[in-house]
Symmetry: C2
Subunit: 85 residues, 2 copies
DNA sequence: AAGTCCAATACCTTTTCGATCTGGCAATAC
DNA sequence: GTATTGCCAGATCGAAAAGGTATTGGACTT
């Protein structure tokens, strides 16, 4: 698991759309698609349900999303705290 | 910044010694040394003071350590929460 | 049934990361 | 005072991971 995967997951969850998430993240769509898949493989559960119109959070995704957002927020706060010394 | 860098930092902070930290992490010593240096570069501050006998936390390191430990703990908890669904 | 919209796949390139080896510096021993 | 030991830093090389482009496959819409 990597921080990039967590960021990709949060962005896709917010956009409900891999293509839009990829644009926001400034990477190509397959890169996001692959990292989401790797993350799901590592967690042993699908995080999204794939529909013809986009991506919807699965139960596991609903559990993971707030925790992932908190981790990213904590990391940003820690970084700022160090830089402000 | 990567999760590996955060893990390396926490381990070196606990061991106060790059070589011992590398052994605990099952990687070579220069790999740890370089990642710590990269992390310091990204944060813009030294996290350790280098002495002839090891590494001591700097003020910035003292600020970063508990936050880094919390992030790793939260990540582990999030992973377990998803796997337990 | 055709068009479109989306994610997934294939293939290739590039970047990143770790291992090994070497150098340098400080403390200790003699 | 020199030599040895222990430690971190740097350079080089090879392997693994990640991203980009192009394309395919599937499902709604009309």
């Amino acid at each position: 698991m990597s921080l990039a995967q967590i960021r990709y997951f949060v962005t896709v969850a917010e956009e409900k759309h891999v293509g839009r998430a990829a644009r926001r993240l400034c990477v190509a769509q397959p890169a996001v698609s692959r990292q989401i898949r790797n993350l799901e493989g590592e967690l042993g559960r699908p995080l999204f349900a794939r529909t013809a119109r986009g991506m919807t959070l699965s139960p596991a995704g609903e559990v993971f999303l707030p925790r992932a957002q908190a981790i990213l927020a904590d990391l940003a706060a820690a970084t700022h705290a160090v830089r402000r010394i």
